[in-house]
Symmetry: C2
Subunit: 171 residues, 2 copies
Amino acid sequence: MALYAEHGFEATTVADIAERAGLTKRTFFRHFADKREVLFDGSKDLEEHFVAAVLAAPEAAAPLDAVAAGLDATAEWFTGRREYAARRQRIVAETPELQERELIKMASLAGAVTGALRTRGVADPAAGLAAEAGVAVFRIGFGRWVADGNTAPMDHVLRDALAELRAVTAG
Amino acid sequence: MALYAEHGFEATTVADIAERAGLTKRTFFRHFADKREVLFDGSKDLEEHFVAAVLAAPEAAAPLDAVAAGLDATAEWFTGRREYAARRQRIVAETPELQERELIKMASLAGAVTGALRTRGVADPAAGLAAEAGVAVFRIGFGRWVADGNTAPMDHVLRDALAELRAVTAG
DNA sequence: CCTCCTGATGACACTCAGTGACATGCCTGC
DNA sequence: GCAGGCATGTCACTGAGTGTCATCAGGAGG
């Protein structure tokens, strides 16, 4: 990530990274499927936490309340990682290739959350829509959380964003 | 697209495409930024129609109603293209690389719609959330529209999905 | 009719991501 | 100590994507 931050993602070759790490290009590709994946190491873990929290929500909770529980779990997951997340975000934000990868991770998250909601007995397409909406809240909230000047903790930011979503879709 | 459908996206080289088209690889890349972009030729046009409809919605319309107008416009745009859209969708669905590209086009659409809503005087983050939710409705509705067995027209499918979203976020 | 200019294409060489195949060395369990 | 696995290195290769220069067709103007 140091190299990506210094020279930009595109200008950094896999050979550069491998050399910095004291490895071979070939070995790099044994650890990461491709050059982008380096920056998405934690996404599987995050997804699992989100899903677990959705599944663990009270049985009586409405779909979007279960999603809210998942959002709380992501906020907890990111505790103490704000600076790292912000630096990483800056790199992703300036590289379309990385944005694509970020988006497919978000889509994977949405798919996993959809599955969790179905497990809770939520029907289609409500499950998918609640999950997509929840991930939209996450994405927008995350952006505000890592933005310069923000001091609010992530759970507050996410709760605000969710309330905003409820308001805008009301009626 | 014939080649993609026949041999799969990954197994089709740009040289293959160029040969079929009676061109050179180099010329191919003068028309398309990359191998994926071939399948996303119309996305800019779709985006413009969506945005125009959002902007043209009655001034009194609520944010999500303006988005609904945009969704109607996309339904109209797809009129007569269902078979093409379905074939294309099949190719995209089986190729992660293409899904990534699809997602960034959706994100671009969401961004454009967000801008349109802001122009209408919708504040942040409501504009972004309404746009993201609207695009989620589009994506899920589109999937149902091109699915085997569906006979309902696209505007109906989209309206249903939007109603579903409203129901699931209510309260 | 000739010329000049422009825009599209071809030809060619190059970088770099990513993969397959095989060799090597290290560590572990027997 | 040894056999068998596992991580790494080496090498060669394919294919995407780019930069550069040459070629060619067509239109504007003399």
